[in-house]
Amino acid sequence: MSDQNKAGTEVRVGLLVTCLVDLFRPGIGFAAVKLLEDAGCVVSVPSQTCCGQPAFNSGDRANARAIALQVMDAFANVDYVVAPSGSCGGMLARHYPELFEDDPALSARSRAFAAKTHELVSFLVDVLGVQSVQAAFPHAVAYHDSCSGLRELNVRDQPRTLLASVAGLQLREMKDSDVCCGFGGAFAVKYSDISGAIVSSKTACVEASGAHTLLAGDLGCLMNMAGKLARDGSKIEVRHVAEVLAGMTDAPPIAAAAPEKA
């Protein structure tokens, strides 16, 4: 595919890799790059740390604003900001404008910035018009709808559309796929036992679905669910949906060990 869209201009995408993917599972970042490049985008990775959500959700608006400004500066020169996460995507697209709503100059800028920000899979489908991918994954999968993506950015059908095109993949819808997994950022640590109870309900649904692999679009939720499944000795594998869509599933699943080298 070419690096041109229908109008013949280059689509420049800045990848907001997200702090969790950057630190814990860079493979998701590379899967995102592949999916975007396959769809004809020119991908860059501006210097970044985090979207500021931990500060924002802890009530620390000053730091949240400072980090938001840093992100808006770093991604000033791209057409789109794309994140392999509904949570970080939602932070930029829904909450940056809230952070600056009482600042006339920055308010307009943050709204324009929000308008060019997208979650990865919905960007592929809704903006670029991608309807299928070239990938194979011969397993039954369950898909968890992470909350921010679902309720802030309407990510629901897009991942299912693309998963349907993956050769050999069978989607097993699980009960309560749209119910929170109990992650909630700092919540998982601050109210650990409540979070533990919520994720138990979730992994029970995952188990009941009979899926071989659990997918979702947010690494925070995935680490929570994978960590719980691993703790309970489950055999179910856990991956980010982008890994499967990009056909990059050689790395061990989340929370699993690399196979012994011969």
Partner: protein, 479 residues
């Protein structure tokens, strides 16, 4: 009765709730029944979403002109022969009602379900004055027998199972035959009805809450599924309506619009079984009705919310949908929240009414999953309002020192990208090395909050940014 508030002990309350098998069993009903019923009834009404928009706009309009509508309402109540009492605080509100009861020589009061009467501690105040308060709503009756507070704003005894109720009735109603059959919900209801009938007849005063107060007519409206509200206000000599000031709607038609979203959101019914309107005392040609009609309008902190970032919370019509859909409420139930209002609406309202210093846990104990906002009939942005409480706590240094320090340290690095990449690059490689061959940590220093419940997946190795940089450099060399 539980000593309110226990909100400062939210953590301990939650832990106890998680370990309570009977409670967990009862909460299973909330998780399934309410949600499925609401979804079905909302699907059947194509204009449901539009009705929610109208409901939101109407409530906003009322809040913007609350003083005007309250005065109009007061005039109408007086015109129809009733009395209006204004109460600034919970204590004032209780005192007004207790004084009314005392001056009428009342010995017992029949009560319809009313959350604001819980808020003002009415039962305890009556009891101190030697007046018996009898709850006539089945759920309220049950928890009154058990000496408990409601655990849900529309289903006060939702924390109980049928067998818990049966056991309670057998314990208390000792005058009834021991071998009676109480295995069906209907038989429990029938027994409660029979017991309550005598109390209705003996009551000197009936106290009800109000779902809406109608400014154009001076009418108060309550909805129930048992009809107990009707009896509480028709049989006794004196009817007292106790309601918070934001319950006002301009017209009967506006009330009808809100009723269309209220029952659907609450119980998944199109309408509640009984919708009772009452306007003033009995007139000369009325067949029944009270001789005296009083309205106690309770502020108790609400006027402070007007014009603040929490004003939107006053749109609430107390349907309970937010808690019905809340994963935290599903896990711990309503009592853990430690005061009258549980769940997401309580997490916003409680700090406003009793102080964020006491209720600080509530807006923090949320994953911000947003499901509450997605079902709220008046579209209250509950997560956003909870976040505003977190901001107030942060500003006032009420958040725990350890998490502030952690957050501060994190923000220090997050605002310095080069330093951040250097430090995280090292840390992540060290972590990956420590977890080699395992892929995860069962425990890790400083991560015990996480690993108490689940393993921590290990990092893959180098950070994405480090790998990306190396890749780009290689490509540049090649080209």
């Amino acid at each position: 009765m539980t000593a309110y508030p226990t909100s400062p002990q939210f953590r301990e309350n939650a832990r106890a709730a998680l370990a309570d098998g009977q409670l967990q069993k009862a909460l299973g009903n909330v998780r399934t029944n309410f949600i499925a019923k609401r979804a079905a009834v909302a699907d059947r009404l194509p204009e449901f979403e539009a009705l929610r928009d109208q409901a939101r706009d109407l409530r906003d309009h009322v809040l913007a002109h609350l003083d005007v509508y309250l005065e109009a309402y007061e005039r109408k109540v007086i015109e129809s022969g009733g009395h209006v009492h204004w109460a600034r605080t919970a204590e004032e509100a209780s005192r007004i009602i207790v004084d009314l009861a005392k001056s009428r020589g009342a010995r017992s009061v029949a009560k319809g379900k009313s959350m604001v009467s819980e808020e003002i501690g009415l039962n305890a105040a009556l009891e101190r004055a030697g007046i018996k308060a009898v709850e006539t709503d089945l759920g309220e009756y049950i928890i009154q027998l058990r000496g408990e507070a409601p655990s849900h704003i529309i289903a006060p005894a939702v924390h109980l199972n049928q067998e818990d109720v049966e056991a309670e009735f057998r314990r208390v109603h000792t005058w009834l035959p021991k071998d009676r059959d109480l295995s069906e919900p209907e038989s429990l209801l029938a027994e409660a009805r029979a017991e309550l009938r005598a109390k209705f007849l003996a009551a000197d005063i009936g106290v009800t809450g109000a779902n809406f107060l109608v400014a154009e007519t001076g009418t108060s409206i309550i909805v129930t599924n048992e009809g107990n509200g009707d009896l509480s206000q028709i049989l006794p000599r004196v009817h007292v309506v106790v309601a918070s000031i934001e319950k006002i709607v301009p017209t009967l038609e506006d009330a009808a619009g809100l009723l269309r979203v209220l029952a659907r959101s609450a119980t998944g019914q199109e309408m509640s079984v009984y919708t009772t309107l009452s306007t003033g005392p009995r007139r000369a040609d009325d067949l029944d009705g009270p001789q005296e009609y009083h309205v106690v309008l309770v502020d108790n902190g609400r006027s402070n919310m007007l014009g603040s970032e929490f004003e939107e919370m006053l749109r609430c019509i107390r349907c309970g949908a937010c808690m019905n859909h809340c994963p935290v409420y599903h896990a711990v139930g309503g009592h853990a929240y430690g005061w009258v209002y549980p769940g997401p609406m309580g997490a916003v309202l409680t700090p406003s009414l009793i102080g964020v210093d006491k209720a600080g846990h509530l807006p923090n104990a949320s994953t911000f999953c947003g499901r509450c906002e997605s079902v709220c009939p008046v579209r209250i942005p509950l997560p956003k309002l909870m976040r505003h409480w977190r901001e107030r706590e942060f500003e006032r240094h009420l958040s725990p020192a350890v998490s502030r320090a952690g957050l501060g340290l994190w923000a220090f690095f997050a605002r310095r990208p080069a330093l951040y990449r250097f430090v995280t690059g090292l840390t992540i490689r060290a972590l990956a090395w420590a977890a080699r061959g395992k892929g995860r940590f069962k425990s890790l220093p400083l991560a015990s909050g996480w690993t108490a419940q689940r393993d921590l997946p290990a990092p893959q190795g180098q950070t994405f940014q480090a790998q990306w940089k190396a890749q780009q450099a290689k490509q540049r060399k090649r080209s």
